[in-house]
C-alpha cells in the first residue's frame, strides 16, 4: 500500500512503503510473521523519519543565529582588543617593517583559524599568535 498522504504525517506522495506484509505473495497471509513485520516497520520508520528530518531542517529554532552571535561577541571583542593593543604599541615604536609584519600575522583570517578553537568555537587556552606578539611588544622596551 503506497503512502497517499493519508497517514498522520503531513507530506503526501513522497513515500512508497509497504505498511503490511499482505503484499508479499510468496508467503502466507500471516500478518504476525515476525521477519516481515520487522522489515516493513523499518521501512516505515526510515521514510517517516527522513521526511520529518527534512521538515525539521528548515525549521531551526529562530533565535539560534542571534544567540550564537551574542555568545561569541564578547570573545571576539577581547581578541580584537588584544590585537589592537599590540598594533598600537608597535605603531608607537615607529618600526615600519615590524608594524607591517604584525598587521599580516595578526590578520583576522589568521586569528580566527579554526585550529585555535574547539568544536563549540571557544578559544582553547591562550592564542598562540597573540601570545607571540605580546612578547615581541614587551621586548621592545
Amino acid at each position: 500500500m503506497p503512502c497517499e498522504g493519508e497517514c498522520s504525517c503531513s507530506k503526501k506522495g513522497t513515500t512508497d512503503v509497504q505498511i503490511s506484509s499482505s503484499a508479499n505473495k510468496d508467503s502466507n497471509d500471516d500478518v504476525w510473521d515476525e521477519d516481515r513485520s520487522v522489515s516493513s516497520n523499518a521501512d516505515i520508520q526510515r521514510s517517516h523519519e527522513k521526511q520529518g528530518y527534512l521538515d525539521g531542517l528548515s525549521h531551526a529554532k529562530e533565535s539560534s543565529l542571534q544567540a550564537g552571535f551574542d555568545t561569541a561577541f564578547p570573545s571576539g571583542a577581547q581578541l580584537g582588543i588584544a590585537v589592537g593593543k599590540i598594533l598600537g604599541k608597535l605603531r608607537s615604536h615607529n618600526d615600519e617593517a615590524l608594524f607591517i609584519q604584525g598587521k599580516q600575522e595578526l590578520n583576522i583570517g589568521k586569528i580566527m583559524d579554526k585550529k585555535y578553537f574547539n568544536d563549540e568555537l571557544e578559544l582553547a587556552g591562550e592564542h598562540e599568535i597573540i601570545s607571540k606578539w605580546q612578547k615581541i611588544v614587551e621586548n621592545l622596551k
Binding site: 497517514c7 498522520s8 504525517c9 505498511i19 516497520n41 516505515i44 520508520q45 517517516h48 523519519e49 527522513k50 521526511q51 520529518g52 528530518y53 527534512l54 521538515d55 525539521g56 531542517l57 528548515s58 525549521h59 531551526a60 529554532k61 539560534s64 543565529l65 542571534q66 544567540a67 550564537g68 552571535f69 551574542d70 555568545t71 561569541a72 561577541f73 564578547p74 570573545s75 571576539g76 571583542a77 577581547q78 581578541l79 580584537g80 582588543i81 588584544a82 590585537v83 589592537g84 593593543k85 599590540i86 598594533l87 598600537g88 604599541k89 608597535l90 605603531r91 608607537s92 615604536h93 598587521k103 595578526l106 590578520n107 583576522i108 583570517g109 586569528i111 580566527m112 568555537l121 622596551k141
Partner: protein, 152 residues
C-alpha cells in the same frame, strides 16, 4: 462486538501513532541539526564583527599606554587628556545588548576626538593618520550582511 474489528482498529491506530512518532523523531533531529548549525554560524559572525569593531579600542589603549610610559618626553598638558581617553576605552562595554552597543558608539566617537587632540598636541599625528585603514587591513571586510545594523 466482532472481535476482528477491534483487532483491526487497534492495529491501524498503532500504525498511525508509529508513523507520527517516527516523523516527530526525525523532525526533532533535523531541527536540532539546523539549530546547531545556525548557532555555529552566528558565533562566527559574532567573532568577526566584534573583532573588527574592537580593534580600535585596543589600538587606542596601546597608544595611551606608550604615551603614558613616556610621559616625560611630552608637555605635561597632555597627561589630563590621556587620563580621560583611557577612561573612555578602558571599561568599554563588550556585550551586544542595545544599550551597551549605543554606549560603545558614544565612547568611540568621544575617544576618536580625544585621540586627535592628543596626537596633535604631541605632534604625532602619524600614529593615527591611517587608523581606519589599519583596522580594515587587519579586521577585513565584514561578511555579515549588506547592512551591518541588521545584525544588532
Amino acid at each position: 462486538m466482532d472481535i476482528s474489528d477491534i483487532d483491526y482498529n487497534i492495529d491501524t491506530d498503532e500504525v498511525l501513532n508509529l508513523e507520527e512518532e517516527y516523523y516527530q523523531k526525525g523532525y526533532k533531529e533535523g531541527q536540532e541539526h539546523s539549530t546547531k548549525q545556525q548557532l555555529t554560524e552566528g558565533k562566527e559572525y559574532g567573532y568577526q564583527t566584534a573583532f573588527q569593531r574592537f580593534l580600535i579600542v585596543g589600538y587606542i589603549q596601546g597608544l595611551v599606554e606608550e604615551w603614558t610610559v613616556h610621559l616625560d618626553d611630552y608637555n605635561s598638558s597632555v597627561s589630563n587628556h590621556l587620563v580621560q581617553l583611557n577612561e573612555l576605552v578602558s571599561d568599554i562595554p563588550m556585550t551586544n545588548g542595545d544599550s551597551e552597543v549605543s554606549e560603545f558608539e558614544k565612547r568611540i566617537n568621544k575617544a576618536r576626538n580625544k585621540l586627535r587632540v592628543i596626537a596633535t598636541l604631541v605632534k604625532e599625528s602619524w600614529k593615527i593618520n591611517k587608523l581606519d585603514e589599519v583596522v580594515k587591513q587587519v579586521g577585513g571586510q565584514l561578511q555579515v550582511s549588506e547592512n551591518v545594523d541588521d545584525m544588532w
